[in-house]
């Protein structure tokens, strides 16, 4: 199927020279083969999507095109000419610009300074500044990308910061613009605005390459789409001639179960009650605003929302990592002080378990052996102690049992945790947090960076926990995941819970709510 599609693409694009033509791009990081002999042609004046799961190699491929990494082998042609791209400098010279997933901005600098960085136009800043300001204003006008040139970038909202990134690329004369997962931090409305900008860029002759793992965006804005799976390019097709189902199958390699089989929830007593919980951080920014909800035994409640709208802070307050500035909380009917002290150990003692959003940052000490991580947070349990000392043999034995039960491979409890794959690391965290039959289980991004096989396993485990009577709160930026797991869905925006829906709510309806348009 691969050869066929590529041929079709090739004949169609023949009348216009490809803006970008990659052949045989290969790249490994240690043993991770990120890109395998990739061929890709991007026609001039089109929006070309590259879709694939997390870790499929999309970002690596585009970072090679931008010169941030160097390919081990392969050839890059721009407008038909072979170019040797050794650094971003070369890519910029070849007319390629890139907007990274994590913005490459200097926050204390103004917009103008960020745009000028690297193309200052003279030894003294004053030499180029006036010229740069005029050019910036022209670009802002031409592409409807208004930003105050003198605003400090760190003070701008993310949507505007992204605009600065696009302006940076255009200012450097980019003819081809690469955007890596640009909507991860945007509300659906902001994303739509971005798409309008991209279409306009295309209409003015620019070529846009859009990397995403969201099929909705591919269908909404691209002309052509290439699918990557495990470092390989599996297909390139016209967007108009494909469907989300076909793309999903190409991404994953087999049909995905978009719906989980599960019985209706049988709910019991309230297990977690939040009342008027607010959080204002040290800078005075309101992170949580009067959050109230109740979670009952035997149900899964999903929290939907664009990343960065208070979900992380909510989990941190409930789990005792962070203090709230107002409000009350009860677990299993008993009040828990969330205002005066934050102590995750206390929450664990009253049987609240927490699978954090980011296992590397929070859930694991990756430099520890696996067995040491299986007791993280429970290390003061007398079961693991031998008098004053830790019972190391007991801890290892316990770890091996858990690792076998959760199918962690390899089941070697002495192996350093950093040597396990992402999915297996996540299973170590899940095993630790689920084994004690918690009354309340908080789960952040249950399947981030986890391969498909493990996703199913993890989802089934969560359903089983629910059926055993646990109260489960799931936070995920993947609407699909929220919709297939949850019995009820709460939508968060700007630190507030702005609506509740059933699992049957449509993606559009939830998306609209996530923008902050309250009921």
């Amino acid at each position: 199927m691969q050869g066929e599609d590529l041929k079709g693409e090739h004949t169609e694009a023949a009348d216009r020279p490809p803006a970008i033509d990659l052949t045989g791009i290969d790249k490994s990081f240690g043993a991770v083969h990120a890109n395998r002999a990739i061929d890709l042609r991007v026609a001039k004046g089109t929006i070309h999507g590259i879709v694939g799961e997390n870790g499929a190699g999309k970002s690596t491929l585009m970072s090679i095109l931008y010169g941030y990494y160097q390919a081990d082998s392969g050839e890059i042609r721009v407008d038909g000419r072979v170019v040797d791209i050794q650094s971003p400098d070369d890519a910029i010279a070849a007319g390629i610009g890139m907007v990274f997933q994590h913005f490459m901005l200097v926050e204390p600098f103004t917009v103008l300074e960020n745009v000028m960085l690297g193309v200052e136009g003279g030894m003294r800043l004053a030499q180029g500044a006036a010229q740069a300001r005029r050019e910036l204003q022209r670009l802002e006008r031409d592409y409807a990308l208004e930003v105050d040139p003198d605003a400090v970038v760190g003070d701008l909202p993310v949507g505007l910061q992204q605009r600065v990134e696009i302006l940076k690329a255009l200012y450097r004369g980019a003819e081809t613009l690469i955007l890596d997962e640009p909507t991860g931090v945007l509300t659906p409305a902001e994303a739509d605005h971005l798409f309008r900008i991209l279409r306009q860029l295309r209409d003015q002759g620019k070529t846009v390459i859009l990397i995403t793992h969201k099929l909705r965006e591919i269908m909404a804005v691209t002309d052509t789409v290439s699918v990557m799976r495990r470092g390989e390019m599996t297909a390139t097709v016209k967007t108009a001639g494909t469907s989300p189902e076909q793309l999903a199958e190409l991404m994953v390699g087999r049909r995905v179960l978009l719906r989980l089989d599960k019985a209706p929830a049988r709910t019991g007593d309230p297990m977690l009650e939040l009342n008027g919980v607010s959080l204002t951080d040290e800078r005075g920014v309101t992170m949580l605003d009067d959050v109230s909800f109740t979670l009952q035994a035997g149900e899964i409640v999903g929290i939907a929302g664009v990343a960065g709208n208070g979900q992380s802070e909510l989990l941190e307050v409930i789990s005792g990592i962070r203090r709230a500035s107002a409000g009350t909380m009860r677990i299993d009917g008993r009040p828990v002080d969330i205002l005066h002290s934050a102590d995750a150990a206390r929450q664990r003692r009253i049987r609240l378990a927490h699978v954090p959003e980011d296992r590397h940052r929070m859930g694991l000490v990756t430099a520890f052996e696996a067995n040491e991580n299986t007791i993280l947070g429970y290390h003061d349990d007398p079961a693991f102690a031998n008098g004053l000392l830790l019972d190391r043999a007991g801890i290892r034995g316990h770890a091996v049992e858990r690792m076998e039960q959760y199918d962690v491979r390899p089941p070697d409890s002495r192996l350093k945790t950093e040597n396990f794959s992402g999915g297996n690391q996540q299973k170590i965290v899940l095993a630790r947090e689920m084994e004690r039959a918690p009354k309340v289980l908080l789960v952040g991004q249950p399947t981030r960076g986890v391969d498909i096989g493990a996703i199913e396993f993890i989802h089934r485990q969560l359903i089983a926990m629910r059926d055993a009577g646990a109260a489960i709160l799931v936070v995920s930026v993947e609407l699909d995941e929220i919709r297939s797991l949850s019995d009820r869905i709460l939508v968060m925006c700007d630190g507030r819970i702005i609506g509740e829906r059933g699992p049957e709510a449509s993606e559009q309806e939830l998306g609209l709510l996530m923008t902050g348009i309250a009921e």
Partner: protein
């Protein structure tokens, strides 16, 4: 304490501040680029020794200054190699530089000059002498302004004037030039600099070399301008006071001048007050005055008088995100 005493204390403040100003500005370049440097002390010491040794052998102040700069830059490059190329721990590297310098200067001085680590007394041509500014003699007797001009402003050596000139020059480079923009950017977000097509490595090496240069001048000032030869450990913690001043100044050039003058003034007062009983207070222990810059820095770091926020990428070797 009459007016002339005040002038004299201020005059010695100027003399004592200069090595601090030069070293703190040196640190500013390095740390603004994201390379922490607690090795200012060592580089200064190496510069002082090189200047003293070469000055003594050649009887030329200029050759001494050149040697100081070279020696200091050599150590700066070691620090650069460890922190930039090898991505080692910048603090550990700085500690190593300090010991290397302390050991090597004493060791080589001992081996070469057989004076227990000192270099021989310099001839006049081997030193930077005080420059009498035009008209200093004629206005000496003018009340107030006369002593200010002839005692305080005139009759310093060349490096003193260079040191004061270095402040506006640093300000101009950091805030008004392309290099300065990139320097500030690489200390905040090296990835932004990298993706803008600028080499992070090269930029940081430039910053580190400038740091070496300024430390070298500071060292030369100690051995061939302020004194007439090198003695063991002659920096005596000035590199760390400069570091403290840099933090105090929140990594900005003009406040660096202010902080260094303040610390210099404390030192000058400490010398002046030795054995003098103050009315109502009694004799202030000289150790108290010596410890004051360090205490003030700790208080500042504690955030009780404003907050010192270092360049965000400081201390972190640049590794591309994966």
């Amino acid at each position: 304490m009459d007016f002339l005493d005040v002038i004299l204390v201020l005059d010695s403040t100027v003399r004592l501040s200069i090595p601090l100003i030069l070293a703190a500005l040196a640190g500013l370049f390095s740390e603004r680029s994201g390379v922490f440097d607690i090795g200012l002390e060592g580089k200064m010491l190496a510069g002082a020794f090189a200047a003293g040794a070469v000055g003594a052998v050649t009887a030329s102040a200029w050759l001494g200054l050149g040697a100081a700069i070279l020696a200091s830059i050599a150590l700066a490059l070691v620090h650069g190699f460890a922190s930039i190329t090898q991505r080692g721990n910048q603090i550990v590297s700085g500690v190593a530089i300090n010991f290397l310098a302390a050991g090597l200067t004493a060791f080589l001085g001992f081996a070469w000059f057989h004076r227990g680590g000192q270099t021989p007394q310099l001839p006049a041509s081997g030193r930077f002498q005080g420059l009498v500014l035009p008209g200093a003699e004629t206005v000496r007797d003018v009340p107030i302004l006369g002593p200010i001009y002839s005692e305080l402003i005139s009759e310093h050596n060349l490096i003193v004037y260079l040191g004061f000139l270095a402040v506006p020059l640093t300000w101009w480079i950091v805030y008004r030039t392309r290099f300065g923009l990139r320097l500030r950017a690489v200390g905040e977000n090296p990835a932004a600099v990298d993706t803008a097509g600028i080499s992070v490595t090269w930029l940081r090496y430039q910053a580190v070399v400038i740091c070496g240069l300024l430390c070298g001048v500071a060292g030369a000032y100690l051995s061939i301008a302020q004194s007439a030869g090198f003695v063991r450990d002659m920096t005596a913690g000035k590199g760390f006071i400069a570091l403290a001043a840099l933090i105090f100044a929140k990594w900005r050039p003009w406040p660096v001048l202010g902080a260094c003058l303040l610390f210099g003034l404390l030192d000058a007062i400490a010398i002046r007050l030795q054995g003098v009983a103050l009315p109502g207070i009694g004799e202030v222990p000289v150790q108290f005055m010596q410890a004051l810059p360090y205490v003030l820095t700790v208080v500042l770091l504690a955030g009780f008088i404003g907050k010192a926020i270092p360049p965000r990428a400081g201390g972190v070797p640049y590794v591309k995100e994966r």
